[in-house]
């Protein structure tokens, strides 16, 4: 478990299924649900259980839950698509309440992900995507220093309409030698 001042981050357990399933709300899609084809994917509890118990997912710390200081689960994060050759990973970060992106909980969670990607895994780039209506997440990414790669237009169909998907990259900063 990673203990911070405002959060603790730990691997998701089967006991967290109830909370994780709340995340996957088809009425309120998020960019972190999107699969390789940019389709909104809402797994059932059975599928989630299967994912959480897969040995490869557990070994790679696939799903991490974020708890606040009171032990209440506020969100979840994961790294996906880690490519050693291109030295990059995709970041998934979400909170049940999107307003949490403006709190220290989000900042501490992101600090952990950044350390994991750039220091522990020694990757060079962290990538993230957000849908056109995820304004809190977008603002958070910009504040954390992500740069915009561009927008894929009308690429996701959800809630009866097409939505744009914006891509961001954070490049590892050279380490200070002083």
């Amino acid at each position: 478990m990673i203990q911070g001042l405002h959060t603790s981050i730990r691997t998701a357990e089967l006991d967290d299924l109830g909370m994780l399933s709340q995340f996957y709300d088809p009425e309120r899609p998020r960019s972190l649900y999107l699969d390789r084809r940019c389709e909104v994917y809402c797994p059932t509890k059975d599928e989630l259980r299967e994912m959480l118990t897969r040995p490869d997912v557990r070994a790679s710390l696939g799903f991490l839950v974020v708890e606040d200081a009171e032990g209440v689960i506020r969100g979840f994060c994961a790294l996906r698509g880690i490519t050693q050759e291109a030295a990059l990973a995709d970041m998934l970060l979400g909170f049940l309440d999107p307003l949490d992106f403006a709190t220290p909980v989000a900042e501490e969670t992101f600090a952990y992900l950044k350390r994991r990607v750039f220091t522990e895994l020694r990757l060079e780039k962290l990538m993230a995507r957000c849908l056109d209506f995820e304004s809190e997440y977008r603002q958070f990414l910009m504040q954390q220093g992500f740069t915009r790669d561009g927008v894929q237009r009308e690429v996701v169909y959800a809630m009866g309409a097409y939505h744009d998907l914006e891509s961001f990259t954070l490049v590892k900063q050279p380490e200070r030698t002083d």
């Binding site: 084809r37 940019c38 909104v40 291109a86 927008v151 894929q152 009308e154 690429v155 169909y157 891509s167």
Partner: protein, 211 residues
């Protein structure tokens, strides 16, 4: 397409396997598209068999290979339509001209246009995405000519020969393809091969009868 050509697309069949394996094993294919140089021809064959095997009439494929066939040269290239999302009505598209002597802009352009026609008119898709490496300038220029927009630029994203290159993502929406079709129809109006031959014969006949 208003311009008549002897090139058409058809679904890849098991009989095409040897040709396609040869193309996919080619260093150019690995350089410009995807794949792993250590992948054996047997593995490529297995991958292709898996894709071709999904084409039973009652299944909804998430990817398909089309062969670009020329009446003069036989199979000249491969179009892969992958990651088909029936929900988003989108796909990713790659085209590869295997016959190196035919890698002119015309052959690639016509193949790409036919593939786009297939995606929008037959599969009823809304959007096509293509990912092209920055060093493959003939391909991304062709996409820009088609009206596709460069939507993403991912810096230093693709490793090739020990260096990292940029990756471009192009998106073409149905309305943009329809605009292209209208432009092409106007451009090639009355310019089919048969009409050009007839016009030439008429001009020759007039020259002969002229005093």
């Amino acid at each position: 397409m208003a311009l008549k050509t002897g090139m058409f697309l058809r679904r890849a069949e098991r009989d095409d396997m040897d040709t396609v394996v040869t193309w996919m094993d080619d260093p150019d294919f690995l350089h410009f598209l995807y794949g792993d140089p250590v992948r054996s021809p047997k593995q490529i064959r297995e991958h292709l068999t898996a894709v071709l095997g999904r084409n039973a009439p009652n299944t909804v494929p998430s990817g398909m290979y089309l062969i670009v066939e020329s009446s003069e040269h036989g199979p000249v290239g491969l179009v892969s339509i992958m990651n088909i999302s029936w929900r988003n009505r989108s796909c990713s598209l790659d085209a590869y001209i295997g016959n190196k002597s035919l890698r002119s802009g015309m052959v690639a352009g016509i193949s790409l246009y036919r593939a786009m026609e297939f995606c929008f008119d037959e599969l009823n898709l809304h959007r096509i995405t293509t990912y092209i490496y920055s060093f493959n300038s003939p391909s991304w220029r062709l996409m820009e000519l088609s009206g596709a927009k460069r939507e993403l630029v991912m810096r230093h994203h693709v490793p090739r020969d020990g260096k990292l290159y940029d990756l471009y993502a192009y998106g073409l929406l149905r309305r943009e393809f329809e605009a292209l079709r209208e432009r092409q129809a106007a451009r090639f109006k009355g310019k089919s091969l048969a009409e050009m031959i007839a016009a030439q014969q008429e001009a020759l006949a007039q020259a002969e009868t002229a005093p």
